[in-house]
């Protein structure tokens, strides 16, 4: 056969990796630039604002701790979304599974009072993952059996989960007192803060370990990222997940059950979202109340998008969103820029990542123009 048949391939070289990383980074830079422009037009000093934001997110160990704190559930929710996206499933209802995970962890934590930590911590985590998976299971079955779209069903299930939690914390699970919340989890069911793992002397010697509120849930999240990456890359489960996501017809022809793979993918996605809810309850609030998640399940969508559904890339992407969230308060305080402007920057990041197609289109148009002039 002729040489022209051998079109250039895309080997796994640095250029192709740079290209993959390029768009997300360009999106973030563009978002910051346009965010600055908006601040400037509104009469704020963007340089001071972003300096304050940086200070608030990374300036001190405590600030960085806050970034880690915010990033932890985002990594987990982002992983869940990414795993679903890899099977071409949009688990927009991760927030609902996150609520169920938080609920399971809080309820079981209260039940297991008196158990040692090495019993209660694994059990809580497992229960939260099962609860998240179970909450995704019904939409998954509906999708697999009758084709009901998961965007609708998981979203509806999110409402059910949120109102269920709202009711439980004013009703059966409410602790004595005025505030609608559960009782405090026993210490054995809490994820300890990172700095609490070290002695006072160590902290004095290594002050960068004074990470404030950051808790050990971050390690759970990092381990989960590695596991999801390994699963996708090195297991039959992950292979079938990706095959169904890319081309369900070819997968079916290759003897893969598309329905069963769909169910598994949504349940695993739900389990990871449930885990996100658990670390938030076990590591931050130590109890359940109806506002315990500030939309981590939804921000997880943006994290997965920015990471282009790569489990390892989810970590830096979640750190970015965590930093924006943690630094926003400092920005408002020090530069007098409303914290809401951070939401604009976040929205712009998502916009540019999603608009990759538009950008590519403009580049192509430009190339076409150049070539036609040359002709």
């Amino acid at each position: 056969m002729s040489a022209a048949e051998e079109r250039p391939a895309a080997p796994r070289d640095w250029a192709s990796i740079a290209q993959k990383v390029g768009t997300p980074i360009a999106s973030v830079v563009l978002a910051i630039l346009i965010g600055s422009l908006i601040m400037w037009i509104s009469g704020y000093d963007p340089v001071a604002a972003f300096a304050a934001l940086y200070q608030g997110a990374f300036g001190t160990p405590k600030a960085f701790g806050d970034t880690l704190l915010k990033s932890t559930p985002l990594i987990l929710a982002g992983l869940g979304l990414a795993y679903g996206f890899r099977a071409n499933l949009f688990n927009i209802g991760a927030e609902g599974q996150l609520f169920m995970g938080g609920l399971a962890a809080a309820w079981l934590g209260l039940m297991l009072a008196g158990q040692p930590w090495f019993v209660s911590l694994p059990l809580l985590i497992l229960a939260a993952m099962l609860a998240g998976a179970a909450w995704a299971f019904i939409p998954a079955i509906l999708k697999a059996r009758i084709g009901a779209h998961e965007v609708i069903t998981t979203m509806m299930f999110t409402y059910i989960a949120r109102y269920l939690v709202s009711w439980l914390v004013v009703g059966p699970l409410k602790s004595p007192g005025q505030i609608p919340q559960t009782g405090l989890l026993p210490v054995e069911s809490q994820l300890p803060r990172i700095q609490s793992l070290f002695s006072e002397a160590t902290l004095q010697a290594m002050p960068f370990l004074k990470l404030g509120r950051a808790h050990t849930g971050i390690f759970v999240a990092l381990i989960a990222a590695v596991i999801v990456w390994l699963v996708l890359k090195y297991t039959t489960l992950g292979y079938e997940n990706r095959a169904v996501g890319y081309n369900p017809f070819a997968a079916e022809t290759g003897g893969i059950s598309v329905q069963w793979t769909t169910v598994k993918a949504l349940c695993i996605s739900g389990a990871l979202a449930g885990l996100a809810g658990a670390v938030e309850v076990m590591g931050v609030h130590h109890r359940l109340f109806d506002q315990f998640s500030s939309g981590f399940g939804f921000t997880g969508i943006a994290v997965a998008l920015l990471a282009k559904n790569h489990p390892i890339a989810v970590v830096p992407a979640a750190l970015l969103f965590g930093a924006l969230s943690a630094g926003g308060g400092t920005m408002q305080l020090m530069a007098d820029v409303p914290q809401k402007i951070i939401l604009i920057v976040q929205a712009l990041v998502i916009f540019f990542v999603a608009a990759e197609g538009i950008i590519t289109y403009f580049i192509k148009q430009r190339q076409k123009e150049v070539t036609s002039h040359a002709g």
Partner: protein, 523 residues
Amino acid sequence: MPLLELREITKAFPGVLANDRVSMRLERGEIVALLGENGAGKSTLMNVAYGLLTADSGEIRVDDQPVKIKSPRQAIDLGIGMVHQHFMLVEPLTVTENIVLGREPGRYGIIDFATARQRVREISERYGLKVDPDAKIMDLSVGMQQRVEILKALYQGARVLILDEPTAVLTPQEVTELFRVVRSLVDEGLSAVFITHKLEEVVAIADRILVMRDGAVVGETTPGDTDEIGLARMMVGRDVVLRIEKGASTCGEAVLTVADVHVLDDRSLEAVKGISFSVCGGEILAIAGVDGNGQRELVESIVGLRRPSSGTITLKDKDITRANARASIEAGVSHIPEDRHRRGLVLEFDLAENIILGDHRTPPAAKNGIMHPKAIAELARKRIADYDIRTPSEHVHADNLSGGNQQKVVVAREIGRDPDLLVAAQPTRGLDVGAIEFVHKQIIRERDAGKAVLLVSLELEEVLSLADRILVIYEGQIVKEFVDADADAETLGYYMTGGGGSKFASDGSNVQAIETPPTGGNE
């Protein structure tokens, strides 16, 4: 003075020089055939002429005047019309509506349908292209739809008609009819460019033949000066065996037995209406038919992608009637799907990942759910070497390969599995002569190794060249059986289009005759 002239056209895509200083000219009243393998640059050149692509450099001249063609609109204004391989018609609209679409006669947004119909009728009579102006496109046969496309180009004032692989979707009778039509258009003073990779068509229709390879014109000739063998050599750059020699089949035991199978299609209509046959080891049984006569549903029912509504399918002694795709693979059935992009490959996967699809649960690819990348890569490299897949490495994504190499990946996977039964559905669709030769050799090799092969094809050449036995399918039934030697394209075409009546298979005695495998493959 040439009507259309392309001078030194160069067009590069990232990494590929699709056209490298290609020149061609087209005189009034002439049919030029552009012959070449897939990826030789034929379509690129014609897309440049039709304004779908802009050349990097080079010049286009119409009536000896230099012109810039940046859009199909401009091409049409200059009298250049193109009929694409995939028709661009609005199915629910009528023939007239489709033809005048974009240039409707009338004023103030109100279409003057009487005038439109009149004009369509005029053109169709003038060129002898009979078609019902009020028929809906979706009710027309593929051949008629193509005729509408041609009429549309003529209505728009085309003087040059570019036909991109026009015969790919036609029956032999429709091809003959198309050739007659094109010939009469040219007699009326039009000119035509015929893009194809089919040698016999070029010889039959062209006045002049331009052979392209690797983005450049490698030869120009006329049908009188050469034959199919010579053209193939020019096109591929080496000698090619057009019709593969094979020995007599040695029919062993029945491997696949299909008994009175009925299958519903996606709309729950009966697409396969009681088909019975058997294929024995060492035999290639071909099912010939016009697209859409139940072949797809029949194949899907055999490979476990669709459950028959009644009847039984047996592989050796095992009932696989209700087997799913996985069970079917495990039972020993391999399947080369008719559409490699839809069912054959995961284009986003690399070659190694594609080569294990279907075998991805079992050693060497995986054990206990854990995959073995090293073993997978090793297997992939072996298949790449054994099946001559042209790729820099096994980590190249499938969509970066040419169609021929993609198909080789599918063939390598399905045959490499060492099945008892190979179901090959249009295994050479869209391939060029070199790749076709390769795939055909592999299929015959399987047969010679004693495997049963069920070939489903719309290409009569392929059927006649490969099959030991041919069943003609028409409207979901087997209407005729041929044993190798007594079939020819004309007769096959006659039965494929319903010529023999469709009741052959419903007659019990004939079903019996079909069920008995011929002894020795010949009668």
